[in-house]
Amino acid sequence: MNQTHTDALAKALAQNRYAWVDHLLELGRELKRDKAGLIGVILFTALVLMAMLAPYIAPHDPTDQDLTARLAPPVWYEKGTWKHILGTDHLGRDVLSRTIHGARVSLWVGTAVVLCAGGFGVVMGLMAGYLGGRTDAFIMRWIDTQVAFPGLLLALIILAVIGASLTTVVVVLALNGWMVFGRMTRSAVLSIRQSPYVEAAEVVGCRWPRILFRHILPNLTSPLLTLSILEFARIVLAEAALSFLGLGIQPPATSWGLDVAMGKNYMFMAWWLVTIPGCAIALTVLAINLVASWLRLISDPQEREKQYARHMAAAMRKKMHDRIEKEQSAP
């Protein structure tokens, strides 16, 4: 009696556990199977932590100038000191601290742009796909027209005229990047629209905003997530390029692109000024790309099956191998 009681309780508790916890555990188990994806996730998590904790882990203030130690080399050189582990720039600012703080700008711009562009693009795509007719024709024409604009040139000019700052960079990049989201959402909505549950919701009498946001949008989560992460990588590169050209983040703020541009003039005597922020950008984008390609794999059922089969085959082979070894060593 008591036994069945506890069993029932455990069952009830297990059912009560939030579904997303199970999802997360399942994701973690799958992640262990994909090494590249795992490296990407770890790198990216480390980056986010680094950006959030930047004021606490950076050894110096990124704008502090130490004019007695200008262009100091990294610590493994003869002249390097532990005070500036990765050396200093032409104003004696600590390269390591600037690199750590630079992560904040990159990730912040990336997140803000993806949220703005994604939000706007998804709403536009939902409306175009679901309402159809004139709305669809208008929005698609708009997207077609804007895609054919020379985007980067317009961005450069707008930034030059209204003045570059963190906010304007975000706005300009978002204005340039929402079309991808719109197009993808529209095509996904068109394929989901005809499904029975959407028709059921219509028959029951839901209004269109409710159908769009409660019934259709949740089904777009995985393709939108993958697209957002890919866009995030593109935006990080775009911000770095704008800052490198001098039309992005402005000093005294720090940005990896800005640091590369400043280090360019000292490239031949202080290679670390260009190399370290450049490596930081490349590593960030690589981590994001690895995560994106892993996500694309696991959101595709066919690929998932293949991967699962591969994993099982490897496990069985290992088991057989172990057993043979045991039998050989037994006598």
Binding site: Q146, L152, A240
Partner: protein, 306 residues
């Protein structure tokens, strides 16, 4: 077909109109052109004279009408920086950017197609994994940094290649490499994935079964059917480069193309030259878009042009 050309031309005109209107609004209404273009210490009289010269003292709609009529005649006025017609400068610099784009993207295509096919022959094999990781790396490296690395490596360490300007044919090697590598990375991924799809098709198996040579099946039948998305991407890359993304490479290597000129014009607040450059870029994008549609039709006659 006639209807298709007509519709594409109309859409192209809308795009060009849209771009010119945005440029007009940004340069004349958001910013104050007189303040931007004249030095700070200029007197009110100088300012007034300058306004009169550019026609900025008239109502905005008349300014706009005049702006549009001048554009139709391809006359943007004199560049403030170089003191000669802005369109002349553009026509002088545009071929340089086209040359750089052609060499860079041509190089990317020549390398990417065989690499992608080799990777696609055995998905998950060693060659495939190396190719995929290499192209992920290529996608992640910022272009300007790649250019700087090339300069340090080939021009400073080995001293074998020139870094800036366009004096001799060997000047194009480093900028073209830098321009081509990110394109190469994207292209390899696409060639690989579309070839994997194509090689799994029944007709490929049939062709092998009836004994056609390997090169013929893969290189001719499969590649031709996988060609459409590949062509789309190549077209996109050309458009991207002419639409301003060459700015980065041209700045790093001081390549005298339209991108470098655009940045210099922005630095010198030469709004007239900027207008001419953006207009030209928009026209290039529209023309290439229309050309691409014709090339699709050539590659895949099944396509209906709408």
């Amino acid at each position: 077909m006639g209807r298709f050309i007509y519709r594409r031309l109309i859409h192209g005109l809308i795009v060009i109109m849209g771009v010119t209107i945005i440029v007009f609004v940004v340069t004349r209404m958001v910013g104050d052109p007189v303040q931007v273009m004249l030095p700070l210490e200029s007197t009110p009289a100088q300012r007034a004279a300058f306004e009169k010269k550019l026609g900025l003292d008239r109502p905005i709609h008349i300014q706009f009408a005049e702006f549009m009529t001048r554009i139709v005649r391809l006359d943007f006025g004199e560049s403030l920086w170089q003191k000669r017609p802005a369109m002349d400068i553009v026509f002088e610099k545009l071929p340089m950017t086209m040359l750089l784009t052609a060499v860079g993207i041509g190089f990317a295509c020549v390398v990417a197609v065989p690499l992608g096919i080799i990777a696609a022959l055995r998905p998950g094999g060693v060659a495939d994994r190396i190719t995929v990781f290499g192209s992920l790396l290529g996608l992640s490296v910022p272009q300007f940094w790649l250019g700087l690395l090339f300069i340090v490596l080939f021009a400073v360490q080995f001293k074998i290649l020139p870094t800036s300007g366009a004096a001799t044919p060997s000047h194009i090697i480093l900028p073209a490499l830098t321009m081509g590598l990110p394109t190469l990375a994207r292209l390899v991924m696409l060639v690989r994935s579309s070839m994997i799809d194509e090689l799994n098709q029944q007709y490929v198996k049939t062709s092998f079964a009836k004994g056609l040579p390997f090169v013929r099946v893969v290189g001719l039948h499969a590649l031709r059917n996988a060609g459409l998305p590949i062509m789309t991407l190549v077209g996109w890359e050309v458009i991207r480069s002419l639409a301003g993304y060459s700015v980065v490479v041209e700045t790093v290597f001081a390549w005298p193309g339209i991108g470098l000129t655009a940045i210099q014009a922005i630095e010198r607040d030469d709004l007239i030259l900027i207008q001419a450059i953006v207009f030209t870029a928009a026209v290039c994008v529209v023309v290439i878009n229309i050309l691409m549609d014709f090339i699709y039709k050539l590659i895949d006659p099944r396509l209906k042009l709408t």
